[in-house]
């Protein structure tokens, strides 16, 4: 085996071994029937692979947020474990997870600035990520206004983006516009690194994977905005990410221009993604989107011939599992019946 092939084999074996430990349908069934966060923590600690990080916690006194933080930390640690097997030249691509986390932190901070709760960032600060971020997260916790945020990020690529979103007199930052700019930057970086590092099947599968994610995110986003918000067509257009895969520019524009969510849905049904939207339910919009992501990444994980595409699929499947657990924790915390919690779960099999 050549060096790179050996590393490919190792990483494929590693992600398969990690995926093999995923939660089963019976784990999910037991979890949704638990009565408290403590019971969930206890179950995860004794019956699942999460035991390796939960061994030392006291499930009787654990807080919901603390449990969620631990699970998020584990997800990130798994990613860093995989990085050990990545060849140096591929790191530029794989650092997309770091960028995603950085953007998430900036958006949390901006949301708190808008809400006037700047001091609260420290509570959600992910310590496990602090050493990997390209800016000081502890300083992010001390940000008092948008200007100090921009100053903090002056040495990073985010500086130019944030500079375009300086708030008006009301001091409120246009969060949607900022989010679109940051996500556009994020996907541009991904596509740039894919084009630079990969070719052949790797390039094809990776590009397809991210572009499909964008297509679907755009469609769901349009339906969400048309269903839940009284928002103009121009505003919807601005909230759409400027990338496409299986949707033509005309199709997307027509969908944006519709007056209601139903009309948009009817047009979507005529696109490449039509079949997927046949049993669409407005009530479980988020789950619908997650279900599609799950199906797509599961297929990619099993059948893609590309090693990086398989890794991306694995990371996404792990993230979906984490979302499932968080849904269960929150469902139980807010006393939602187990039959309703079940509807929030994705990929239980």
């Amino acid at each position: 085996l050549s060096g790179s092939n050996a590393s490919t084999e190792v990483i494929i074996a590693k992600i398969h071994a990690m995926y093999g430990k995923r939660l089963t349908a019976s784990n999910y069934r037991d979890l949704v029937n638990k009565q408290s966060v403590a019971e969930i923590a206890g179950y995860l600690k004794t019956n699942t692979w999460y035991a390796e990080t939960l061994t030392d916690i006291n499930e009787n006194s654990i807080h919901r947020g603390q449990l969620e933080d631990i699970l998020k930390k584990l997800l990130f640690l798994n990613y860093t474990k995989l990085l050990r097997y990545i060849n140096g030249n591929q790191f530029e691509f794989y650092s997309y997870i770091l960028k995603l986390n950085e953007i998430e932190q900036i958006l949390i901070c901006v949301r708190l600035l808008n809400a006037g709760k700047v001091g609260e960032y420290i509570f959600s600060l992910p310590i496990f990520f602090a050493d990997n971020a390209s800016f000081d997260l502890f300083k992010l916790a001390q940000v008092k206004n948008f200007t100090s945020l921009i100053d903090l990020l002056s040495d990073t690529d985010y500086y130019t983006i944030l500079n375009k979103h300086i708030p008006n007199e009301d001091n409120l930052i246009d969060l949607t516009a900022l989010e679109v700019s940051l996500r556009t930057y994020y996907f541009s970086c991904i596509f740039k690194s894919i084009n630079k590092i990969y070719n052949g099947i790797d390039k094809k599968d990776l590009t397809n994977s991210f572009e499909t994610e964008i297509d679907f995110a755009n469609l769901i986003n349009i339906i969400r905005l048309k269903t839940n918000f009284d928002i103009s067509i121009d505003e919807i257009r601005l909230s759409v990410l400027p990338f496409r895969n299986k949707l033509s520019k005309g199709q997307l524009e027509q969908i944006i221009k519709t007056n209601t969510a139903d009309e948009a849905l009817n047009l979507i049904k005529q696109t490449y993604y039509g079949k997927i939207f046949n049993n669409f339910s407005f009530e479980y919009l988020e789950q619908y989107s997650q279900q599609y992501r799950y199906d797509y990444y599961k297929y990619s994980f099993r059948f893609s011939q590309s090693q990086p595409a398989k890794v991306v699929a694995f990371l996404n499947l792990s993230q979906i599992e984490l979302k499932n657990i968080i849904s269960i924790i929150e469902g139980i915390r807010y006393k939602i019946p187990s039959s309703e919690i079940n509807k929030l779960l994705v990929g239980v099999e």
Partner: protein
């Protein structure tokens, strides 16, 4: 297999469901789906009324760790209200004990933490009450998650955030913080948001630290005893009520699943219609049970009567025409005890359709035979059989039953090869005793190599011919001219294959050339032409008008290449069986290597190398041979006659085991 049409008044449907659960051999079809397009028939899509009751009892069983098994509930003389009352009472008693248990666990845990804390300040030797009664400051003992502890540096500029760590653990930092009375609300809130777990030592610990540790340890032990008592009470409660709860569960589960089974029926006004399948031998029993159900009629139809096209019949109650979608009967495999473990291999490929030959007996015979030939060793074969028996006995694995058969076959061929755990001469005394000069088959003799490979190909030829004959039989059953006469696996293919093999065999073995012009024309050329023209010929026999291909050039080019592929597949499929002989040789070869290695480590053969070598060969070669034969079955044999498009015969039953 017979199709049964059950028609009756909708208020009798529960009796029907009860009857067919008792009968246990009816495979129901989704009738509403089959009748889609017929006016008036709808599916039954109400919410199951027993859903909540089942959820509740499932929850109780899960909490009390009672397994879901079938328990006879005929003597459960309780009304719905009494069942609910009983379940609620049990749930309340259990919950009371459960909350006592978690309360005690929490208390024990907090005592444990308090002891840890006090141990850290043992040296200070001050009165704890003095410490907690300070006038201007509050003292909080507790622990912070390690991540939160790191976040404290963000409060470096806050003079009132004072946390003093006393003990570092992997995930937590134990310690104490002090806060002035004037701002303790704000500081407490910050620490709470950082998931600080406070231990209220002040309520439990008095005197000096050493005295407090002693008193808390005493309390800790007392609470442990209380916890054991509560646990015992819970166990006793479960033991006392277990059977009654299981009965209630089975009763509710029956009602829930019965309702789910009604969904197979279609509803039309006050009537229902249900279609299902039963095996011929169960019809008498079925009639006897259904005769007792009032307001219900059953009409039987033989499979041969059901055409694979939309059928129309008249409904007695309504004058609407019934349009039933075509539906194929399910397949129930019936094989003898020797053959039936091999059904799993067939199922991996696909289930035979109702009127298709079940290939299980062929698989069973060929698999067992080929395994013996390829892995012939008396000792290793018997070892495999014993392993197979243990896997079957303790794990109930179908592979265990297959291993028993293949192990015995391997042992029988091992006798012919004279091989016991690789000792090739071990059976010589036995052969001498029965009057043989040497063992019947000398695998490793160079002069035998070609014979072994040739015999392997010969066995392959026989299996391929059997596969073609089975396809011809399927052709007769399906009344399919292409399968019967014209295809590569029909009579034309059979004549071609046998002629070529025969002429080649006679030429090579006896130097006898039978390839006369007449033979070539009738036995090779004409079958080839028939195979080439198989599609138009079969259409012509079926009297279809479009038998002449529209695009003749395309037809010629496509069929020319297909014919080329067909001839190639005959050759490769036959040659493929060389592996049977090759593995027989490889097996003996690998054991020779094991013995050579065993002799290399000293003057006498090393027994550990021989044992390890045998284990290695049994595992590795056993696995490879097993997979290779399966490959031969699926590619070389099945592809000639077996479509595997059947659906499994799954009679409706109440599943008491799975919780849902």
């Amino acid at each position: 297999m017979q199709m049964v049409n059950i028609v009756g008044r909708f208020d009798s449907i529960n009796n029907v469901i009860e009857a067919f659960c008792r009968f246990g051999n009816l495979h129901p079809e989704d009738t509403a789906y089959l009748l889609e397009g017929t006016n008036g028939f709808n599916s039954i899509d109400q919410i199951n009324p027993k859903r909540d009751s089942l959820d509740r009892i499932n929850n109780i069983l899960m909490l009390s760790n009672i397994p879901t098994i079938y328990t006879d509930y005929d003597d459960l003389n309780l009304t719905e209200t009494q069942i609910n009352e009983y379940s609620n009472n049990f749930f309340n008693s259990f919950n009371l004990l459960q909350s006592q248990k978690s309360g005690l666990e929490q208390l024990i845990s907090s005592l444990d933490q308090a002891i840890i804390h006090l141990s850290q300040i043992k040296e200070m030797n001050i009165k704890l009450d003095d410490l907690f009664n300070c006038k201007f400051i509050k003292i909080r003992f507790g622990r912070l998650p390690i991540d939160s502890y790191q976040k404290l540096k963000a409060y470096d500029d806050n003079p009132f955030m004072m946390f003093f760590p006393t003990l570092f653990e992997k995930e937590y930092v134990f310690g104490v913080y002090f806060t002035p009375n004037s701002c303790h609300d704000e500081i407490d809130e910050i620490f709470t948001s950082l998931y600080f777990e406070r231990f209220r030592i002040s309520e439990q610990a008095h005197g000096t630290s050493t005295e407090a540790i002693q008193s808390l340890t005493k309390q800790y032990n007392e609470e442990q005893i209380k916890l054991t008592t509560v646990q015992n009470e819970m166990n006793e409660l479960i033991k006392k009520e277990e059977i009654q709860l299981e009965k209630i569960y089975c009763y509710i589960k029956y009602q829930y699943e019965s309702f789910e089974l009604t969904r197979y029926a279609a509803k039309n006004g006050d009537n229902f219609y249900l279609v299902g399948w039963i095996a011929e031998q169960n019809i008498t029993q079925f009639k006897a049970i259904f005769d007792e159900v009032d307001n219900v009629d059953c009409i039987f139809e033989d499979v041969s009567q059901i055409k694979n096209e939309t059928k129309k019949s008249s409904n007695d109650e309504n004058d609407n025409n019934l349009c039933i979608k075509p539906v194929s009967p399910p397949t129930l495999l019936k094989n003898s005890r020797f053959f039936n473990p091999f059904e799993e291999f067939v199922n991996m490929y696909g289930l035979p359709s109702y009127n298709e030959i079940d290939p299980t007996p062929l698989v069973a015979i060929s698999y067992t035979l080929l395994f013996g030939i390829m892995f012939g060793d008396l000792g290793q074969g018997l070892t495999l059989a014993v392993i197979g028996y243990l896997l079957f006995k303790f794990k109930n694995m179908f592979l265990g039953r297959i291993l028993i058969r293949t192990g015995i076959s391997s042992a029988i061929f091992g006798v012919f090869y004279g091989s016991v755990f690789g000792y090739e001469e071990a059976l010589n005394p036995f052969f001498n005793l029965i009057g043989l000069k040497h063992k019947p088959i000398e695998i490793m003799a160079p002069e035998n190599t070609n014979i072994i490979l040739g015999v392997a190909v010969g066995i392959g030829i026989i299996f391929i011919i059997i596969a073609i004959i089975m396809n011809i039989i399927n052709g007769i059953k399906h009344k399919d001219a292409e399968k019967l006469f014209f295809g590569q696996n029909a009579l034309a293919g059979l004549v071609l294959y046998i002629s070529v093999i025969l002429s080649a065999a006679l030429l090579l073995l006896f130097n006898l050339n039978i390839l006369s012009i007449v033979f070539v024309i009738f036995a090779i050329f004409i079958p080839l032409i028939i195979i080439f023209l198989r599609e138009p010929l079969s259409k012509l026999v079926e009297r279809k008008k479009d038998w002449i291909p529209e695009n003749k050039v395309e037809f010629f080019v496509q069929n020319f290449f297909e014919l080329f592929e067909i001839i190639l597949s005959f050759v490769t499929n036959t040659i493929s069986f060389v592996r049977v002989g090759a593995f027989a040789l490889a097996h003996a070869g690998m054991m020779t290597v094991v013995f050579t290695l065993a002799h290399m480590l000293g003057n006498s053969p090393n027994i550990f190398v021989i044992i390890f070598g045998n284990v290695f060969v049994i595992i590795m070669e056993g696995l490879i041979v097993g997979i290779q034969i399966l490959r031969l079955e699926f590619y070389e044999i099945f592809s000639r006659f077996f479509a595997g498009e059947g659906k499994i015969y799954k009679p409706a039953k109440i599943d008491y085991i799975s919780r849902l």
